[in-house]
Amino acid sequence: MIEAILGPFAEFSFLRRALVGCLALSVSAAPLGMFLMLRRMSLTGDVLAHGILPGVALAFLVGGLSVVSLAIGGLAGGLLVALAAGALSRATGGREDASLAATYLVALAFGVALVSTVADSVEVMALLFGSVLGVDDAALLLMCGVATATLLVLAFAWRPLVLECFDPGFAAAEGARGGLWHLVFLALVVLNVVAAVAALGTLMAVGLLMLPAIAARHWSGEVSGIAKLAVGIAAASSFTGLLLSYHADLPTGPAIVLTAGLAWVVSVAVGPVDSLAARRVRRRHLAG
């Protein structure tokens, strides 16, 4: 049993690298996912992940499956979608979700068209769904670097982000520069999605961002509690998912995301806060 759990990591350095990278991402992406969820922007991470595809595809055309070029391309693509959508909706008075949907659909179609013209199917699978073998030293450095930067920025941005999520009107009245923090936050989300692509693939990168946060919401009623639990769930999902990927011979992206999905299913079913069970169980009422 222990051999089945720890053996693969002891034996294969690529699995160890993937594990370290995913654990680093768990620490940084899960709190970001919580803020996305609290801002009712749960789908924005997905939008950004699709938005990076043309950038990644262009980089892939130029430099192949090299982490550095993929990261630069993805970062440029993601920031372009996020900023273009935000600026467009402000300039035209439209809704941000509408402009996001429009820009990411165009970006996704463009990216898929680009990739399909050149790559062979193994590489396309790795790009879209991730591969344990994708986490080379450069990718590991990228993932850990992004996690470090994210934690540093979050430490400073925590209070303004909570305020901007909770009461944007008050933030505006008090001159808390909510718009600026929002941009910083979106940049962090893009960074994390790009860093996750190497291990999880572009289509699954958001899984580690959103699922742990959404699951943690059912276990705590306080922002800090949700953030800590989300990190824990993300880390556990990374470990279990990599094992699943190894034993069942699955791409790492779906394996990790399915594990996090299982945590979500359990949470939404029996968690103490707003879960199906908590809603159904009729508790004996108190005297006052």
Binding site: L163, F170, A173
Partner: protein, 244 residues
């Protein structure tokens, strides 16, 4: 006569070009307690938001002698957000603490005192989602207490609260008045305005009357305010008064 706390010079605030507040001039004396009354659509909320700097004017200017705290009519905050009452009250320290600085010592006690002052003693750890509408309005008053601003703008502070809550909140307004703060409140209950507010501004997009409450709320003035055309004039050309 001391310097005014709020000076409004020929202020016009427009929504899509149509003026919601049209050519208002006047000043609010420091330490005064003023009610803003007028029909729906008279520009009361727009005026408060313009004074708070949340709505850029399309003409004229507002100058303030101090920090402003605004109690919005429809709070934008997310009542389902996982945050407890004490932390909401502590947000009132934002001007002094900002994004990075640690909370000054004693902040927690100040928040508890503010909660007690609005009748929410013991609510500190309760999530905001569990409060009733009236308790919620009390909570926002507690946050105003910590904001400690010399100028207070209250937009319909007693809407959707019961008589006892209204009386408690009114007592806090009186306390602020006694401390020499300048208060502007949008209200609809004219009896309350007559009883509690020495000054009044009757607004119907343009100021109908501004001064001592009894004179402002005369039958003739109220009739004039009711005559205000609520609809925009889609054929209106540029306002000629700007040239003057």
């Amino acid at each position: 006569m001391t310097a005014p706390a709020i000076r409004i010079e020929n202020l016009t605030v427009a929504h899509g070009g149509h003026p919601a507040v049209h050519h208002i001039s006047g000043s609010v004396a420091a330490g005064s307690l003023t009610a803003i009354v007028g029909p729906n659509g008279a520009g009361k909320t727009t005026l408060l938001r313009a004074i708070a700097g949340l709505h850029p004017p399309s003409g004229g200017r507002v100058s303030l002698a101090g920090r402003v705290a605004l109690l919005p009519q429809a709070a934008t905050l997310d009542r389902g957000f996982p945050i407890c009452c004490r932390d909401v009250v502590l947000l009132g320290l934002w001007q002094r603490v900002g994004a990075f600085a640690p909370m000054p010592p004693g902040s927690g006690e100040r928040a508890e005192e503010a909660l007690a002052a609005v009748g929410l003693a013991g609510f500190g750890r309760r999530p905001v989602g569990s409060l009733s509408a009236g308790q919620f309005q009390r909570l926002l008053f507690a946050r105003l207490l910590l904001q400690d601003a010399p100028i207070l703008l209250l937009d319909e502070p007693f809407t959707a609260v019961d008589a006892r809550t209204a009386a408690d909140l009114l007592a806090i307004i009186r306390r602020w008045h006694g401390e020499g703060r300048t208060i502007l409140a949008v209200l609809h209950d004219l009896d309350l305005v007559r009883a509690e507010f020495p000054e009044a501004l009757l607004l119907a997009r343009e100021p109908i009357a501004w001064g001592p409450t009894e004179q402002v709320l005369s039958a003739a003035n109220r009739l004039r305010a009711r005559m205000m055309a609520e609809a925009w004039d889609d054929t209106a050309g540029p306002c000629a008064r700007d040239a003057a």
